[in-house]
């Protein structure tokens, strides 16, 4: 819940002029997928599951997060 509030605060248009938009956008996405991984590992209890079950979830988090960071870096003009 704390991470949700931080993400909302970062994206709410507060005065973060010293940070580039791409950094803030990347930070929000990284926090979001960190939170999703926490839900997968602890709430879904995939943390104790066999590797064959855990691997697709880990792969999903890394791939989707990476591709979204790249896609939004294109939007903010950094790639």
């Amino acid at each position: 819940m704390g991470i949700t509030i931080i993400s909302w605060w970062l994206g709410h248009g507060h005065d973060f002029a010293k940070f580039a938009p791409v950094s803030l956008t990347t930070a929000i996405l990284a926090l979001t997928f960190f939170k999703i991984r926490l839900v997968i590992i602890h709430f879904m209890e995939i943390g104790h599951a066999p590797a064959a079950l855990r691997a697709p979830f880990e792969l999903w988090c890394v791939t989707v997060c990476g591709m979204l960071i790249y896609a939004f870096a294109r939007i903010t003009g950094s790639v």
């Binding site: 819940m1 994206g11 956008t25 979001t32 839900v39 709430f43 979204l68 903010t76």
Partner: protein
Amino acid sequence: MHKHYGRESEFLCAEPEGSRPAESGGATSEPGVWLFVLGDMILFALLFLSYAWDYKDNYEMFRSGQAQLDQNIGLINTLLLLTGSMSVVIGVGHARKSRLRIVTYCLIGAICTGVLFYANKIHEYYHEISVGNTMTKNMFFMYYYTLTLIHLLHVSVGIGVLTFLACRLNKLPRDGRLVNYIESGGAIWHMVDLLWIALFPLLYLIPVSPF
């Protein structure tokens, strides 16, 4: 009542060997549930990427559409689903200890958060439609309604599954399968939660505007 739940405890303790493979860890051992969850997550991932790609090509349209959404509603909905997920986690823990009455309360708690999410979303749709932001207005609102309506369909399925479990808890088989059912319902609910966790920043927060 206590005697009744005591009897359920005995049934749960007499779990048939092999009904919950040890190698599955705490996670539900129903492969069908995981296939459904992963399949849906892949489908949503494709929609997220398609949205991000179209954002670049229609920057001004997406930016102005996003500015018309109320971030606070998205925040409240995220907190509601997280609370519901927490309630399900507590319920699964009590199911393993055969405390079925507490499990029912936890499931009802999660259902209530789902219903509040639903109400909040309907309120948001009503507001957007009343100011002319319908699905056909532009590509941003087409994505907004498509993504949130598909997600809302998942919320409906999640509420349905949890309601079924809460209503039928005393009629489900009194062995390890009961815990499996609760865990499976929980996994579906957590998927609904994590998809919204991704949708909230995508639709409401990012990309952060240049200053």
